[in-house]
């Protein structure tokens, strides 16, 4: 059984795929233009302390997403 968790809680070096995008239309579209959308696979490169950003790799790009952004992206771990 896989569990749905926010991206902000995923530890570094895990591969996940996005199951749901919470948040408004602007946010979802913005993420969409970066290639972050429902069904997409991500790998978490690192997660910084002090409520810092989550760094993810999507395709060939690396993005740092602020914590509350990452909290709106619901993901499932890849087994």
């Amino acid at each position: 059984m896989t569990k749905k968790i926010p991206l902000s809680q995923v530890k570094a070096k895990h591969k996940v795929h996005i199951v749901d995008m919470e948040g408004g239309c602007v946010f979802v579209n913005r993420m969409m233009s970066l290639g972050i959308y429902k069904g997409r696979e991500l790998s978490v490169v690192s997660r910084l302390a002090l409520r810092g950003p989550t760094v993810v790799k999507v395709g060939r790009s690396t993005f740092a997403l602020g914590r509350s952004m990452a909290a709106k992206i619901m993901v499932e771990m890849r087994s």
Binding site: N29, V45, L50, R60, S61, G66, S68
Partner: protein, 576 residues
């Protein structure tokens, strides 16, 4: 006139392509958002003159950020038959870049694609089949390497016959599917092991190793700036001034005769019968010495190191590491970029707060920069004044400023209205900077500094000289003497230095040094100069960027802070 719009994702090298096409030099770096003003230039091709417009980087054609709004409105203003859209793509990242491309094609713009950084893609084992890509997209694609200029000629040749694209609009999900198909047809990846560069890239974004990398890079940068700066002062500037310039001035001094008005204006006052470049305060003595021998060497070394860090791609990584801390100051990590620029000169620092999205964030960032971030001229002054005692006091001034910066940020975060958005920044690959591009950027920045600073320094020295000669400043010292004496423990003459600091921080040093203050007094005066009014140029930019209301708020905070810190330091420091 036909228009050529350069559009593309942030940090794909649009500005470099722009420079290549038009010969106009614009700043480019390895981080998103370097272009804060839309640059325009001209290109003559196919028997007509084109207006070339360098748009800020965008990820999509939907108005999600300020940059996207600017780009969109400019694109919509022009009729489609009078324009060509040059879509600049980062070849190392075809997939993400094509999202914007497809949107442009669906909106039926006449598009030509520039596959930039083609050489870098090949290094990374990414081969792009140009023919297959052209077939999949239905538009011309030209591989280029803008930094070396490869492919630019070919690009210009192809501009002649660009037709509007015909592509039906699709949903966002379908668009990504189409991109997937196009990429699988045109891109051929050869598997390679992680290179050293990629290991370094990964290490610099992990919490622990990233922190270590950042601290070592910053320490090394500081050391290099100081070393190069000192070298330029001791080996280049000082010899020129003392061995060649001073003998010349000595003759002028004899010719004019001391105690005359002209002598006072041009050469200033003799100190122990000699011209003293730091204290004489003349248009031909102190003004050029401060600018060229005390400040310029550090401007050169500072911008050399900063430009290097920018082009390598270190700044977004620093932004990411500092995001947690800066959030507590009401900013997000990317606000570190204006701060770093502000360490050189507050003017470009405050200008680049435009890249921050919310008004509140821009207010906080600009206020913090103008109060707590010492620019190179100010730092040269701090070293010049406090350095004569010991490095301990220099560090002290920096610590006071840094503490103030943090403390004010915490307060502003609690009190300023509005919201601060989240960090969203692309972490670019490390790139090896191109020497020619680096040199050009350095030249552009140094030229900008001289053009901006020199006239104000000359005017400042001139005005102060005239006022001192006719003793017009006495009323000023008289009015401020209670404040100076009682609150700050400074002699009343220090008021002149503080007021002059408003013109240029570096001129004030010539007024403070002759006062012969105690260490404590010098310390307080230096800190006050750093906090209180920024120079006239910064003042103007602050007003323009913030608008009257926020500007007044910012200035009140500045004055209040100066007052409180001055009094506190006066009480806290036991006379040294």
């Amino acid at each position: 006139m036909k228009k050529l719009f350069l559009i593309g994702n942030p940090n794909v090298g649009k500005s470099t392509v722009f420079s290549r096409l038009t010969g106009v030099d614009v700043l480019s770096s390895n981080y998103p958002g370097t272009t804060i003003e839309v640059a325009k230039g001209h290109l003559f091709a196919h028997d007509e003159t084109w207006e070339v417009v360098d748009l800020p980087g965008v990820y999509s054609l939907e108005a999600g950020s300020k940059a996207e709004e600017v780009a969109l409105s400019l694109l919509r203003e022009t009729p489609k038959e009078d324009m060509v859209v040059l879509d600049v793509i980062d070849s190392t990242n075809l997939e993400r870049n094509l999202y914007l491309t497809l949107q442009l094609l669906e909106a039926q713009f006449p598009v030509i694609i520039c596959l930039n950084m083609h050489d870098d893609a090949l290094h990374r084992g990414i081969a792009i089949d140009i023919k297959a890509l052209e077939k999949a997209l239905g538009v011309s694609c030209v591989p280029t390497c803008a930094i070396t200029g490869l492919g630019i000629k070919n690009l210009i040749e192809r501009l002649g016959d660009i037709r509007p694209a015909l592509r039906a609009p699709v949903s966002h999900q379908e668009r990504w599917q189409q991109i997937g198909q196009a990429v699988s047809l045109a891109q051929n990846l050869s598997h390679r092991h992680h290179s050293l560069r990629e290991h370094l890239e990964d290490a610099s974004v992990r919490p622990f190793s990233g922190f270590l990398v950042a601290v070592s890079v910053l320490c090394a940068s500081f050391w290099v700036v100081r070393t190069i700066g000192e070298f330029l002062v001791n080996r280049v500037a000082d010899p020129i001034f003392f061995s060649f310039y001073q003998p010349l001035l000595d003759k002028v001094s004899v010719f004019l005769g001391p105690e005359t008005l002209w002598h006072h204006l041009l050469l200033g006052d003799l100190v122990d019968g000699q011209i003293d470049f730091k204290q004489s305060l003349g248009l031909l003595t102190t003004a050029p010495y401060i600018e060229f021998a005390m400040v310029l060497p550090y401007i050169i070394s500072f911008y050399l190191v900063l430009s290097l860090l920018e082009d390598v791609g270190f700044l977004p990584r620093l932004a990411m590491l500092l995001d947690g801390l800066l959030h507590r100051l009401g900013l997000h990590g990317f606000a570190i970029v204006p701060v770093l620029l502000g360490l050189g000169c507050n003017v470009p620092g405050i200008l680049s707060t435009r890249t921050l999205e919310s008004r509140r964030e821009r207010f906080i960032a600009a206020t913090l920069i103008s109060i707590g971030i010492p620019c190179v001229p100010l730092q040269a002054m701090i070293f010049g004044i406090m350095g004569q005692f010991s490095g301990f006091y220099v560090t002290g001034v920096y610590l006071v400023l840094f503490a103030l910066w943090l403390f004010l940020g915490l307060i502003l975060n609690r009190t300023a209205k509005g919201y601060s958005p989240e960090l969203l920044v692309e972490i670019p690959s490390y790139r090896i900077p191109d020497a020619r591009a680096l040199g050009q950027k350095l030249f552009l920045r140094i030229k900008g500094f001289i053009v901006e600073a020199l006239p104000i320094v000359l005017a400042g020295v001139f005005i102060v000289n005239v006022m001192l000669y006719f003793q017009w400043l006495d009323w000023l010292t008289f009015i401020f003497s209670p404040v100076m004496n009682k609150l700050f423990g400074l002699p009343k003459e220090a008021a002149v230095a503080l007021v002059v600091g408003f013109f240029r921080k570096d001129v004030a040093v010539g007024l403070l040094l002759p006062l012969g203050l105690s260490i404590k007094q010098f310390f307080i005066a230096t800190v006050l100069l750093a906090i209180s009014f920024p120079c006239v140029a910064t003042f103007f930019v602050l007003f323009r960027e913030l608008g009257l209301k926020d500007f007044l708020k910012s200035v009140s905070i500045m004055l209040l802070t100066g007052l409180i810190v001055g009094v506190l330091l006066n009480l806290a420091i036991v006379s040294a």
